[in-house]
């Protein structure tokens, strides 16, 4: 199949995920709900005011995480890199853990305390990375990767401390948030996260060629004319802020960000001018699908979507990898 056709198929799945999957749920909605923009019927209200915002949040979140993974895997030249590698999710989780533990109330412009605390925590992690790259611009990507890992361990230890000393109820709330979920999102959430993700995505898309070269090697990138250090710092910051926005809304949903870029590379190749749009479409559609499953599996209760992503994603990913082995037509 040609690359453009594969992209079109991904685009089709994204449209399907956004238009059709919200019809599925506790109450299966008739397709007519789709055209009931005004909310005349209850079906129209459920569709447009509850399920569509949630599907949109899942799509924007999945797209942002997949983009973040694609960028970090290219810059770190490491297939195991995730959007959380530099500690963004760890920082966000720490923010939420501390806010829950100390009962802080941080409602800002309609954002919940959790979202504000998560985004603030994520920005602390971004700040640490920014200071590191400012103080030592010559730091290799590997060193930064290790710094991120160390930071994640540090955040985890403080989170464990907060949990250990918290009441049972607070402790459960923290754990529940750490699993990631879209239960509480509404149109406000979507309106808050979308600009952040769009801004990050715009910076990333603008640097598609630079990502190709950085993935090939920093020396080659430099000799081809890429200003390596400033480009890398800009991409780190844009990606981390974008991922921070996603995590503040959806919690640290795992696996999508690591796996989606790999699946897209198997489908359309490593060229970032194709890979980035593919990651947006696949990551977005995949998280909408997982969230639909999360709404249904334990019906009438709801499962955190983070539990589903790896459960559905990992076997599919393994199947793709195994199928690819020994196939000479494995795409670039």
């Amino acid at each position: 199949m040609r690359t453009s056709l594969r992209l079109a198929v991904l685009g089709g799945s994204a449209v399907f995920a956004l238009a059709v999957l919200p019809l599925v749920g506790r109450q299966a909605l008739p397709f007519s709900a789709f055209f009931d923009f005004q909310g005349v019927d209850p079906a129209g209200i459920i569709f447009w005011q509850i399920r569509v915002p949630r599907a949109l949040a899942a799509f924007v979140g999945g797209a942002g995480l997949a983009l973040g993974g694609a960028v970090f895997q290219a810059i770190f030249r490491n297939p195991l890199a995730t959007p959380y590698t530099l500690g963004v999710a760890g920082g966000a989780s720490l923010g939420v853990a501390l806010a829950s533990r100390f009962g802080l109330s941080l409602v800002v412009v309609g954002l919940s305390t959790t979202s504000v605390a998560a985004f603030a925590g994520a920005m602390v992690a971004v700040g640490v990375i920014w200071v590191l790259t400012r103080l030592r611009p010559e730091l290799s990507s590997t060193t930064l990767l290790l710094a991120g890992v160390a930071m994640n361990f540090f955040f985890s230890s403080v989170i464990l401390f907060a949990q250990y000393t918290a009441s049972l109820g607070d402790s459960y709330r923290i754990i529940r948030w750490l699993m990631g979920g879209l239960g509480g999102v509404d149109m406000t959430t979507v309106l808050h996260m979308t600009p952040v993700v769009t801004l990050g995505a715009a910076v990333i898309f603008w640097h598609a060629r630079e990502l190709d070269l950085l993935a090939t090697g920093t020396e080659i990138a430099a000799s081809r004319g890429v200003a390596v250090a400033p480009t890398r710092t800009l991409l780190f910051l844009a990606t981390s802020v974008m991922v921070g926005g996603v995590v503040a809304a959806c919690g640290p949903v795992g696996f999508v960000g690591m796996m989606a870029p790999h699946i897209c590379r198997l489908l359309v190749g490593s060229n970032h001018r194709v890979l980035l749009p593919a990651s947006v479409l696949f990551g977005g559609a995949f998280l909408v699908l997982c969230d639909t499953a999360a709404r249904l599996v334990l019906f009438p209760a709801e499962l955190p979507v983070g539990v589903i992503t790896a459960f559905l994603g990992a076997p599919f990913f393994l199947w793709l990898l195994v199928r690819q082995v020994g196939s000479p037509s494995a795409r670039p």
């Binding site: 895997q73 290219a74 030249r77 490491n78 297939p79 898309f205 603008w206 640097h207 598609a208 060629r209 190709d212 070269l213 993935a215 090939t216 090697g217 020396e219 080659i220 430099a222 000799s223 081809r224 004319g225 890429v226 200003a227 590379r265 190749g269 490593s270 060229n271 001018r273 000479p328 494995a330 670039p332």
Partner: protein
């Protein structure tokens, strides 16, 4: 094509406490082929990176056609100087054509498609290096020699007239070494490129070059034509090793053999 000349003036480079290069001066004329030799850790690759502005010297400067490298923009410099580093494997795999197209980066806008000029440069570079038949293969599926030719193709697609190579024939078997050397000869004589190559290959690469610069401990130990440096005493001083010379090498030069104890 009029290739620029390179001047290095009193270049020193320190990394922390370590002094990697000290008072290095050299000149490469338009269209000249210079090889840089010397023991491991002598600063050869570091000097090459300074020529491409990837590393900034602590003292002294590098001039391309009398213009300091530090005054070039990164993309502007990339349109003049191309660099073929030692191969390093990345996690992402590209097809050969995509990889060579990346060489056009300094000529491209962010999302603009390749123009006819770009496409022609890519095709020419792949033809010249003989990787056009490999255009749709992945880089990881290539042999070492094919990959080295693809790397040179990408550097040529960049459109510069100065080509810097770091150990272009290392890790290659004899047939592939010969292919690379033939390619360098063609780029030197037919395309008129200015070429600087770091190498340990005294018998072929050095013997094909116009002039040689030997580094030892970050300083220039010797310079001259290949005939002057391919000498038992000169080489012994550069490498702290004994050599045997045998008549019958390339272009009437002697063949160099490292001498083992008792041989």
């Amino acid at each position: 094509m009029s290739s620029p000349k390179i001047d290095v003036e009193d270049l020193s480079l320190r990394l922390g406490e370590a002094e990697i290069l000290r008072d290095v001066s050299l000149r490469v004329e338009k269209g000249e082929f210079l090889t840089i030799i010397g023991p491991n850790g002598a600063g050869k690759s570091t000097l090459l990176r300074c020529l491409d502005g990837i590393l900034e010297p602590s003292q002294g400067r590098v001039l391309i056609d009398d213009r300091p490298v530090s005054g070039f923009g990164r993309r502007e410099l990339a349109r003049t100087v191309s660099y073929v580093p030692q191969p390093e494997a990345g996690p992402l795999d590209y097809i050969v054509r995509s990889f060579v197209e990346m060489g056009r980066y300094p000529h491209l806008k962010a999302w603009a498609a390749l123009t006819e000029v770009d496409a022609a440069a890519v095709t020419d570079a792949m033809k010249l290096t003989g990787v056009i038949e490999l255009a749709d293969r992945t880089m990881s599926s290539l042999s070492g020699g094919e990959r080295q030719r693809a790397s040179i193709a990408a550097a040529l697609a960049q459109g510069g007239s100065i080509l810097l190579l770091d150990e272009p024939t290392s890790f290659l078997d004899y047939r592939h070494q010969v292919q690379i050397l033939d390619l360098l000869d063609r780029l030197h004589h037919e395309s008129g490129l200015t070429i600087v190559a770091v190498t340990h290959d005294l018998n072929s690469t050095v013997a094909s070059s116009d002039s040689v610069l030997a580094l030892k401990g970050g300083r220039v130990a010797a310079t001259g034509e290949p005939a002057e440096l391919l000498d038992a005493e000169v080489l012994a001083a550069i490498y702290d090793a004994d050599f045997r010379l045998i008549a019958g090498g390339h272009r009437g030069l002697p063949l160099i053999l490292p001498a083992r104890n008792g041989s």
